[in-house]
């Protein structure tokens, strides 16, 4: 893993205090910073490459297409299937609508995503890294553009080394311009999730979109260009935290990209035997063609074993299979398999694989638990909510007739797309009368209305004779809200305060 030119120098040099000159020399031989070695991945074709193209296409289609899906919610709410409505403080996902009070659904979604990632990783290794991660998808797309404009690996290496010329300059400009265009499309699609897509898109082009929208388009253009065009594998190796701890999810039963060392070693160039004897006698199947290294998008040698930089995309498997076909040896010298299977084959046993392991059972159980909690919460989501804030200044008011009045601010959250009427009841305070400054309530109830998809706010007064209060200073009071037509209900507990007797 720590191969490379500085491998030897990593051991701490023995510092000789008396001989300062030798210390200096040793220090000079051990740079603290090693420059990036640019990776020029070679194009390859095969099963994994095809799979990667398909996933890439699907991911991009979802990303660019999703804002255009429509979903009818009536005239009171936006008709975009997936929408984060910042000014309206709401998020829409098809039939689901989330208010800021319910942001725990988002938390739940993130927890769910994390556990799914853990489960998939423990079963199939770094599928996320190699196939679905936006960093991988956009890097792959940018590499495709690079391939079309500058050619394959060898052509690109040659171009890098070539002196400046018009054609080199033209190729560079074409490449970076294409990248910037893709990056702008990425940023442009991002803002479509935050506004009505058919309205926002023309606005972007006519220059009438908001500063915020242009800012985020610019931001995502910059990050896409930098991360997918310039930084590439360094994002995975140095910036992303996931590769650092994903090994905790892997064990010898997880599918990973492996090199079958027992079959491949000792490696070497295939020498033609002039005497007609078996050229494969006494040697491994690896012909040391370096195809696997040349195709690797992170520039590593999979034959060194499992390593942090490997994103598990399997392109080296495709590359090796091509070579194995050519030299007439069986495919699968580099393969997508478990370490246990490889071990078994190395010892001549038949491979056995266990999908069901304590680890996967645990992840699946947690997943089921979190999933059912989320589902239950979603199904039991109410269409109306009630919040009651009692006035604290003053705590209570004595009226001329001796009764005590408390004031409350009532918020009715109408989460439906229609206007609704509600009856608010107050319970727990004997002979209580509920009113607003304009409406005199009948007994302990009051009729209120709330506009569609809005919070109705009303200051209400609860007035009751002091004589009816058992514990005068503080009485528990329950506000019950009933929707008049669809039967939606909500309740809120508060207190009714009075001077102590």
């Amino acid at each position: 893993m720590d191969g490379g030119s500085t491998g030897e120098g990593r051991h701490a040099p023995s510092i000789q205090v008396d001989d300062a000159i030798s210390t200096k020399v040793q220090k000079a031989a051990q740079p603290l910073y090693s420059a990036r070695i640019k990776v020029h991945p070679k194009a390859v074709s095969g099963t994994f490459r095809s799979l990667k193209w398909i996933v890439l296409g699907l991911c991009l289609a979802v990303y660019y297409g999703a804002p255009w899906l429509r979903w009818d919610r009536g005239p009171a709410a936006p008709g975009q299937a997936i929408l984060i409505d910042m000014p309206g403080r709401k998020a829409y996902f098809f039939m689901i609508e989330i208010w800021p009070q319910e942001v725990y659904f988002l938390t739940g979604l993130l927890v769910l995503a994390a556990i799914i990632l853990f489960l998939v990783t423990s079963l199939f290794g770094r599928l996320w890294c190699g196939y679905a991660c936006p960093q991988t998808v956009w890097t792959d797309l940018f590499m495709l553009v690079e391939l079309w404009i500058e050619g394959d690996r060898n052509a690109r290496i040659k171009l890098d080394a070539a002196p400046n010329s018009v054609s080199k300059f033209a190729k560079r400009v074409a490449k970076h311009a294409s990248w910037v265009l893709i990056a702008m499309a990425t940023g442009g699609a991002w803002v479509l999730y935050f506004g009505d897509a058919p309205t926002v898109l023309p606005e972007i082009f006519t220059g009438s979109a908001s500063f915020t929208q242009y800012f985020f388009i610019g931001l995502f253009t910059a990050t896409t260009y930098t991360l997918a065009g310039l930084a590439r594998e360094q994002v995975c190796t140095y910036m992303c935290p996931w590769p650092r701890f994903q090994s905790a999810m892997l064990d010898d039963q997880s599918y990973v990209v492996t090199y079958e060392g027992w079959r491949g070693e000792p490696r070497g160039k295939l020498a033609k035997k002039t005497d007609g004897s078996d050229p494969w006698a006494g040697r491994g199947d690896c012909v040391d063609c370096n195809s696997c290294v040349a195709t690797c998008p992170t520039g590593i040698d999979i034959r060194d074993g499992q390593q942090l930089e490997c994103i598990g995309c399997g392109l080296c498997v495709d590359a090796c299979n091509v070579v194995m076909d050519k030299v007439g040896r069986p495919r699968g010298l580099i393969r997508f398999d478990t370490l246990a299977n490889q071990q078994a084959r190395a010892c001549g046993q038949s491979p056995t694989h266990h999908f069901i392991r304590p680890r996967t059972i645990l992840y699946a159980a947690v997943l089921a638990l979190v999933g059912s909690v989320m589902l239950a919460a979603l199904l039991m989501r109410t269409t109306v909510e009630l919040n009651v804030l009692r006035d604290r200044n003053p705590l209570y008011v004595t009226l001329v007739d001796g009764r005590i009045r408390n004031a409350y601010t009532v918020h009715i959250l109408n989460k439906t797309h229609a206007q609704h009427r509600y009856v608010l009841h107050v319970e727990g305070v004997p002979d209580a009368v509920i009113s607003t400054i304009e409406i005199e309530g009948a007994g302990g109830s009051l009729e209120l209305a709330a506009k569609p998809d809005a919070v109705a706010s009303e200051r209400i007064f609860v007035t009751a004779p002091l004589s009816g209060l058992k514990n005068a200073a503080s009485t528990k009071v329950v506000f019950r809200l009933e929707e008049t037509s669809d039967g939606g209900r909500a309740r809120y507990e508060s207190v009714f305060l009075a001077p102590g007797r």
Binding site: A20, I21, K24, D391, R392, N393, P394, V397, T398, L399, V400, D401, G402, R405, A407, I437, E438, R459, F461
Partner: protein, 289 residues
């Protein structure tokens, strides 16, 4: 003082020339980017002297080419805010109190504007929630000295109470003790009678005597049964709601020396729209009639 600057054999750097007990110090320069950034900030700061107010002079300060001042900026922001409020404020100024009350838009705006003005102008005496304090009436309850309808509240805010304004609310209770109208025993008796109006008296004999004193001296303003008269600004004595306190000693003090609380005429200080919004807000606190 630096004595001998020499080149260090190992690093190739100069020393500072300092030496302590044979220990010398390398003269490591600041990183270039840091140094130049520092110089750049100095150059940048010079621009402030030119463009912004900077140096004090005998009679003021240098103005700067941009003519910018912090006061000017606040004035600009204030006039921008006022301009944005102007459409609603002019509507409120033009509408009658009853119209404001009936229109949800105007009423909502008046409540918000009233709350803001109340916090600045009224809260120092009446409290942030309008609950009053000793000497300053509670505005949240339904007990009013000068009337609790929107119009009455509006008038009270406009002209205030016991001030120099011609239209000021004015009620004058005699100083029964200090001016010798009643003697101490009579004052004690009538105080017991006032306590009895809210069923708190402990001396029935004094109440009977006090009833006579009350009928002779107080009833004209405070009415039969002490229910008060809002046209005269005579407080209700039967409600057990007190401006200065309802214990006997405080009542005796009030009868003896009278009370002369006052409130400014806000029409002299605020524009009519603000006074209207204050009236709507105070009316909406809970006690409005």
């Amino acid at each position: 003082m630096p004595t001998k600057i020499e080149k260090d054999a190992i690093s190739g750097q100069d020393t500072t020339g300092h030496e302590w007990d044979g220990i010398k110090e390398l003269n490591t320069p600041l990183p270039k980017w840091w140094l130049y950034t520092y110089y750049a900030t100095i150059v940048w700061s010079l621009a402030y002297y030119v463009f912004y107010p900077a140096w004090p002079t005998l009679s003021g300060h240098t103005g700067g080419l941009l003519g910018w001042t912090m006061r000017g900026e606040i004035a600009e922001q204030m006039s921008a805010a006022q301009a944005s409020q102007a459409p609603m404020v002019s509507k409120i100024a033009a509408a009658s109190l009853e119209d404001i009350r009936k229109s949800a838009d105007l009423r909502g705006y008046a409540m918000a504007g009233g709350r803001s003005a109340f916090g600045v102008q009224c809260a120092p005496c009446h409290g942030a929630g309008g609950a009053g304090a000793k000497g300053f009436p509670n505005l949240v309850d339904d007990n009013w000295i000068w009337g609790g309808t929107l119009d009455e509240i509006y008038t009270t805010i406009q002209y205030g109470v016991r001030n120099a304004n011609d239209k000021s609310r004015l009620s004058q209770m005699p100083r029964f003790g200090a001016d010798g109208v009643l003697d101490s025993k009579q004052i004690n008796d009538v105080a017991e009678f006032v306590l009895s109006l809210s069923k708190r008296s402990t001396d029935p004999a004094a109440v009977t005597r006090g009833a006579v004193v009350f009928a002779e001296n107080c009833v004209a303003c405070h009415q039969e049964g002490g229910t008060g008269n809002q046209e005269l600004g005579a407080p209700n004595l039967a409600a057990n709601i007190w401006i200065y306190g309802g214990d006997k000693a405080t009542i005796v003090e009030t009868i003896r020396n009278s009370r002369q609380g006052s409130m400014p005429a806000w029409a002299e200080r605020l524009d009519d729209a603000t006074v209207k919004m204050l009236a709507v807000y105070v009316h909406g606190l809970g006690g409005g009639k």
